[in-house]
Structures are given as C-alpha cells and as structure tokens.
C-alpha cells in the first residue's frame, strides 16, 4: 500500500514537474479574432495564417529552442467578447496577441493587454488605435491618413506631376482623403491647380472636366468611389484630356473598368495590395503555403497583415533572444525595416506602422491590374 502511494506520489510529482517544465518550454502566442459572427471569414483567415506560420516555425525547431503554442479566442467581432478574450488570453499566459480584425475589438482589449504587459498587433485602421501610445500595441496595417502620404509622395516625388487637379465627392471618406492629399501635396511643395466636388451618382461630369481641361492638368486625382471614378475616367478620355488619372482606394473595384470601358487603360489606382498582387518573394511563398495547406487563398489582405505582425514578433524574439515583452517592444520600435509580406515593417513609438504597404496599380488593356510602384 505504501509502495503504491509512493509510486503514485512520484508519478504525480513527475507529471507535475513534466507539465511544469513543459510550460517553461513553450512560447505562448494568442490569437484574438472573430472566428464566428459577421466577420468569421476574416477571423478564420487570421487564425489559419498564424497556425500555418507557427507550424512552420516549430518544424524548424521553434523559437530560442522552444516550441510555440497558439491559443485562439473568438471575439465574435463584438467589443464585449473582445474584452473577455483579453482577460482569457492574459490568464493563459500568452506573451503576444495577434488580432483582432476590427478596430473596435482591437481597441476593446487594448487596455487589458497594456496593463498585463502583453504585446498586441492588429490590422485595425482607425487612427484612434495608436492615440494612447500604449507600448504594447503595434498596428500592422496603415491608418486611414497614411494613404494621403503615400499618394502625394508618389505624385510629387515619383511622377513629378506639376499641375494636379483634385476631385472629391461629398462623402466624409472621400473628402477626408481628398483634403489630406491636398494638404500633403502642399507640404511637399506640389502645385494644386484645382479642387472640386462632384455629387456622387450624378453621372454627368463633363462640365467639371471641361473646366479642368482648360487648366491643362498633368493629373486628375479622384478620392471618391468607383461608381463615379469609372465615369470620370470615361468622360475625361472622351473630352480628350490627356492628363493621367489616379483613383483612391475606393476605386479599386472591377466595376471601375466596366464603367470606364476602353478608357480604363492607363488609369492608376492606389490601394493596399490584394494578396495576389503582393510583389515580394516572401509573400508569394506564404500564399503558396497557405493555399497548399487550406486549399484556398486568404480572404483578404488583412490576413496577410496580421501574419506580418506575428512574423515581426517572432523576428524580434530571435534577434533579442528574449521573451520579455518590454525588450521585444523596444526592439520593434528600433529595428531596421524588416521584410514583411506586405512590404517593409517598422514601427514608431506609438506603435504606428512606418512606411506604407500601399501600391500603385495601372490598369492594362485587358482591364487587369499591373503593379507599377511599391
């Protein structure tokens, strides 16, 4: 009997010791994403991408000789569930959390991670996410204001446009983007010759375009939506205005080409890249692996951006040889740009992504997109 007790006790202790030492041997990474609910598609994409990268890393021998273990929490795309996920993942002892998909959910859990000293990286684009300057937070996408910076840099420094006409519509989004572009262009010393608004869906834009024609522009920039952008481009060509045409991200839709018809050729569109169009080798490799494992493409660019968040954290752990979150965070804000799937990755002290992942597409004669500038 005594022997049995001893054996049991030894076994128990051994199990305890083993499981304990096992715990010491893993690096825990959390995924907070909408696995169910309206954005389930996106949330599952993020989870799948993280699990794929972790599996690959573990096959290589893990990080610092330790295996990585993933804990997924479903935030359902709601703020309440996101706050619960925050607590749950902190209690599990994760050192970093990937996600969430929506700005709302990322923000709802942000403070919990900050107080627990857990790193968080999210694709939320709301400018507010980095306003608290939490040292734990890193945005892996670009905030809404970044598009204007990229656009004006491309227009002034790359294309050297001298006479720029800007058209917006009355929507908050288009006006915000349009005004930001005007501001940035002026900062770079660019020459805005015209700014005007069109009423969305009013179809007849020949009067405003005729006026722009008389000003002899190099480029017409339109910050509104594809349904008007396609018509603007068609009517621009019809009026024989030779200027280039650049559409903001809301012009990135197949209907733009249908509306513009043959005039679509040569129009430029600026947006974050769709996964298929990422020009980087690492991205192509990642997408091929993803396709092979899950038999589908990632649902959107947001999956790729979250994958980049994880890759940067893993890179930082390897470089610093540490799993201390403060050390990793310090490294992330100081590191040289790291080649991400979505372009170079680097952060400022607020956790804002530096540089941008925007691309410029040119529509070719078949109505397809060619990447012309990174």
């Amino acid at each position: 009997m005594r022997k049995l007790f001893t054996t049991l006790a030894v076994l128990f202790a051994a199990t305890f010791f083993v499981s304990n030492s096992y715990a010491e041997d893993v690096i825990k990474i959390g995924v907070q994403a909408p696995i169910t609910g309206s954005y389930a598609n996106e949330g599952q994409g993020i989870d799948k991408a993280v699990r794929l990268l972790v599996e690959q890393k573990n096959a290589e021998g893990g990080l610092l000789g330790k295996k990585i273990k993933v804990y997924t929490c479903d935030d359902e795309g709601t703020a309440q569930a996101a706050a619960i996920c925050g607590r749950e993942l902190v209690n599990k002892g994760v050192i970093a959390v990937i996600g969430s998909y929506t700005s709302t959910c990322a923000q709802a859990a942000q403070e919990i991670y900050y107080k627990a000293g857990v790193l968080q990286t999210s694709d939320g684009t709301a400018d507010a996410l980095t306003k608290n300057s939490y040292w734990t937070f890193f945005r892996n996408s670009n905030p809404n204001s970044a598009e204007a910076v990229y656009t004006s840099d491309w227009m002034i420094n790359k294309k050297k446009y001298d006479r720029i006409a800007v058209i917006t519509d009355y929507s908050t989004f288009a006006q915000g983007l349009g005004n930001a572009v005007v501001e940035e262009v002026k900062k770079l010393g660019g020459n805005i010759i015209y700014t005007g608004k069109i009423k969305a869906n009013s179809q007849n834009y020949t009067p405003i375009l005729t006026k722009i024609k008389s000003m002899n522009p190099d480029v017409i920039y339109f910050s509104g939506y594809y349904s008007d952008g396609g018509l603007l481009r068609a009517q621009q060509k019809q009026l024989g205005i030779e200027a280039d045409f650049i559409g903001g991200d809301a012009n990135d839709n197949p209907d733009f080409v249908k509306l513009a018809g043959s005039a679509a050729e040569g129009a430029y569109i600026i947006n974050v890249p769709t996964p298929e169009l990422l020009p980087y080798d690492v991205a192509k490799e990642f997408l091929a692996d993803y396709k092979e494992k899950y038999n589908e493409m990632p649902p959107s660019i947001w999956t790729v951006l979250n994958a980049d968040g994880l890759r940067a954290i893993m890179h930082a752990i390897e470089e610093t040889k540490s799993t201390d979150t403060k050390t990793i965070a310090n490294y992330l804000v100081e590191m040289e740009p790291y080649p991400g799937l979505s372009g170079p990755l680097a952060w400022d002290e607020d956790g804002e992504r530096v540089g941008s992942s925007y691309l410029t597409y040119r529509i070719n004669e078949n109505g397809n997109y060619d990447v012309v500038s990174k």
Binding site: G196, K197, I198, K199, N201, S202, Q203, N204, T206, P207, I208, T210, K211, K213, S214, S227, G230, L231, A234, Q238, L239, G240, D255, K258, L259, G261, S262
Partner: protein, 299 residues
C-alpha cells in the same frame, strides 16, 4: 474659348435629355393637372428594360436594325407601363383632391424604383457599350462624339414631330381641347379617357428614349437614378411653363446649358444651389414659366 463651346456641347447634350423627360411631365400636367412624380422612375425603368431587351431578345449584337429595334421595343414596353401606371395609380383618384394623386404618384415612383431593385439588383448595371460607333470629332479643341450628336439630333426630331402632331393633327387638337376643358371636350364628342391614355403613351415613350440615351451615354445605370433625372426634368418643365410643350423643350435645353456653365465658370459644388435659385427666381418673377404666357392654350 474652346472651354465655352465645350460647355455648350455638354449642356446641349444633357439638356436634350432633360427636355425629352420634361415633355412627359408637362403633357400629363397639361391634361390632368397632376405632377407625375413616377415619371423619372419610368425613365430609369426604360434604361433597364432597354438593357435586357438588347441582351435577351436582340442577342446583344449591335447593328442598325438591332439598335432601332431596341428603341422601338423599349418605347412600346414603357408606353404600356405608363398607361398601366395611369390606370392603376391615377384613374381611381380622378375626382379625389389633387394632393391624393400627388401622394399616389410618389408612391408609384417608389414601387417602380424598388421593383427595379428587386429585379435587377441594387448594384450598378451596365448598358451595352457597343451600340453606336465610337467616333470622336475634334473641332478646334471642342470635342463632340457620335453619341452626343445622336442625342441632339434625335431629340430635336422627336420634339419637332411632337410639336407638329399636337398642332397639326386631329388627335393633337383633341389633346389641346382636353387640356383646356375636359368636360366641354367630352360634350363635343372627344373620348377624354383615350386622350389621357395617349398622353401617357407619348410621354412615357419619349421618356424611354431619354432613358436609353442615359444608358448609352453613361453606361452605368442604377435603380435610384430616376429620381435625379425626374427632379431636373421637373424643374425644366416648371421653368419652361408647366403644361406648355415648347416650354418643356426650351426649359430642358436651358437647364442643361445653365448647369454646364455654372459648373464651368462658377463652381461645380454650387450647381444645384444655383439651379434651384434660378427656379425660385423664375417662380417669383414669372410664375407661368418662360413661355407660359405666350401660349394661351396649355398642353
């Protein structure tokens, strides 16, 4: 200077569209003293019907025959729809207070609009782009396209034909007589109900031409576009003197030109504001519209 002529061409093109649509408003008003607010939605419907007729019935192959057939079939379908609109939404309310008929018109417009949405979907649809040759003339910097010329010429022919029909034929005389006094016309042996149906047929068919032109010119058509064209055509009809056929034509053309010149020389942001300011000024200083007084008998 080429910007001025270009704006004139722009204005004339869109103005002809407004004029074609305004004729439907003004004719119905002339007879029934009813603002047919569903007319703009009939115009939108015609663009969708035209698109479907071309793709499904005419096989989607562009030729002179198929384009003419597209116009005729669509005009016929929309004429029937116009008469059906009258019979279902307006005829039961002939003796009701005028406000009831206006409310009924707004309701009918919503029914048509939502019907289009349920049938063809809420997204932008695409009118075939290969119906007419893609010819562009450049006259000293002013650009005119084939489709613009087609819109201008065909609208002009239709308007002249309508004018002759109203003033030179027996049916036209009956329409004019009914517009002046329905009861007296009835006593003279005019079948006023048939005259009303005829007015709806002509007005809807002209609106259908406008709708097809909108599709051909702009390609993208949406279920809610009728409201905007209807509103502008309505303004054109009021400007010209509602109930007055030459007035509607003149009002449409002037409105198109006014819009183009405001957008070109003042600001495209203020186009609508100036348009409605003009409307208010006309109503204050010339309540019968530009041609309202000249023609005693209003049709």
């Amino acid at each position: 200077m080429d910007i001025f002529f270009q704006q004139i061409i722009n204005g004339l093109t869109i103005g002809s569209l407004y004029a074609l649509i305004a004729l439907g408003y003004t004719m119905v008003y002339g007879i029934l003293k009813l603002i047919n607010f569903a007319h703009g939605d009939l115009v939108a419907l015609s663009a969708f019907v035209g698109m479907t007729v071309f793709a499904k019935i005419l096989g989607g192959e562009a030729s002179l025959f198929s384009v003419i057939a597209l116009f005729l079939i669509t005009m016929a379908v929309i004429a029937v729809a116009g008469v059906a609109l009258d019979k279902s939404a307006y005829k039961p309310l002939r003796n009701a207070p005028r406000l009831s008929a206006v409310v009924s018109a707004l309701g009918a417009g919503l029914v048509i609009q939502n019907g289009i949405m349920l049938t063809w979907g809420p997204n932008v649809n695409f009118f075939p782009g290969n119906l007419v040759p893609n010819i562009v003339w450049n006259i000293g910097g002013t650009v005119v396209t084939f489709i613009q010329m087609l819109i201008l010429v065909l609208s002009l022919i239709l308007m002249i034909a309508l004018y002759l029909f109203i003033n030179r034929t027996k049916m036209g005389t009956a329409i004019r007589a009914s517009a002046i006094d329905k009861d007296a016309s009835r006593l003279m042996g005019i079948n006023v109900d048939r005259v009303i149906s005829l007015v709806f047929i002509i007005g809807s068919a002209l609106g259908a031409v406008g709708g097809i032109f909108i599709g051909m010119y702009y390609r993208g058509i949406t279920f809610e576009m009728g409201w905007q064209y209807g509103l502008y055509a309505f303004v054109a009809a009021i400007m010209g003197g509602i109930g007055n056929i030459p007035g509607a034509m003149l009002g449409g053309i002037l409105l198109g030109l006014f819009n183009a010149l405001i957008a070109g020389y003042v600001s495209s942001t203020w186009t609508d504001a100036f348009t409605f300011l003009l409307l208010i000024l006309i109503i204050i200083f010339r309540p019968t519209g530009i041609l309202g007084e000249k023609v005693a008998e209003k049709v």
